[in-house]
């Protein structure tokens, strides 16, 4: 039932939870990636700590692939128009909703926020419905 990739998923999840704990304990901040990234780009104050977090995010992924040899994933879809449409929907949606899988799905749920629970229910069901519909069509 639980193979190596299940254990890696669990270990990755625990690390993400620890990351959220570190950022809250030391900096008093919620580890919401979409908000941190958007503010890093569009807002001038607080840019340094946000860039530090995003830089760490990139470096952490590099370390994972380089140090423990996790294979670099191949894309399931690589159609450029699909990438643009999906990327726009993700960016527009998380901005309107003030959060994504990390801010609402992890930190918000851990804070027992009703807003985050509602957001998580919406994006999970929309994503599941989208995959089901795409699989019907293809």
């Amino acid at each position: 039932m639980l193979d190596a990739s299940s254990w890696q998923a669990l270990a990755g999840g625990l690390l993400i939870g620890l990351s959220a704990s570190v950022l809250m304990l030391f900096s008093g901040r919620v580890a919401g990636i979409s908000g941190i990234f958007q503010s890093m780009i569009f807002k001038s104050d607080g840019r340094a700590w946000r860039a530090s977090f995003i830089g760490g995010l990139l470096l952490g992924a590099v370390l994972c692939h380089a140090l423990i040899g996790k294979p670099v994933p191949q894309l399931l879809y690589s159609n450029p128009l699909l990438a643009i449409a999906a990327g726009f929907l993700v960016g527009f949606g998380v901005s309107k909703a003030s959060g994504c899988t990390s801010g609402h799905g992890v930190c918000g749920l851990a804070r027992l926020s009703r807003r985050s629970l509602a957001a998580t229910a919406c994006f999970m069901s929309a994503a599941i419905a989208t995959v089901a519909m795409v699989n019907q069509l293809v």
């Binding site: 625990l14 704990s21 952490g60 894309l75 994006f123 599941i128």
Partner: protein
């Protein structure tokens, strides 16, 4: 300078965790969302593990008045559950289900040197800008 270290460490752990868990692999993500088809449940351990750790640590951290670096704790906005939150989340979920990236993995994916990933991230930034980039408050 020392205020930049916790965000860097948190980013490192988050990026390592995302890459290790399979969240940056669009095959794994779409397989996880395909609950009516050949469901790959591994990624449920990511959110489960992360929420569990953060749930415990946030309870413990919330006994403090301020963060270890002396910053006040970022409070969840006390807006109710409104249309922006729900429709934004649905929009995000559709984009996530169409391609397989939520914002964190989308940022990391620029390291994988695929044109589609760069287009996705550029479109995500455009989507954020369209939604609220000009008038961001937090």
């Amino acid at each position: 300078m020392k205020t930049l270290i916790p965000p860097l460490v948190a980013g490192l752990m988050f990026g390592f965790g995302l890459a290790l868990s399979g969240m940056t692999d669009t095959h794994k993500v779409i397989g996880f969302l395909d609950i009516f088809g050949a469901w790959d449940y591994d990624l449920a351990f990511v959110m489960g593990g992360a929420v569990l750790v953060a749930l415990i640590s946030y309870r413990w951290i919330s006994r403090r008045q301020r963060s270890l670096l002396g910053f006040p704790f970022e409070h969840a906005d006390h807006q109710g559950i409104d249309r922006q939150l729900l429709l934004g989340s649905v929009c995000f979920g559709v984009g996530w289900g169409l391609f397989g990236y939520c914002p964190g993995p989308a940022i990391i994916s620029i390291l994988y040197l695929e044109t589609a990933n760069w287009l996705f991230l550029a479109a995500m930034v455009a989507g954020m800008w369209t939604a609220s980039g000009r008038q961001i408050t937090s």
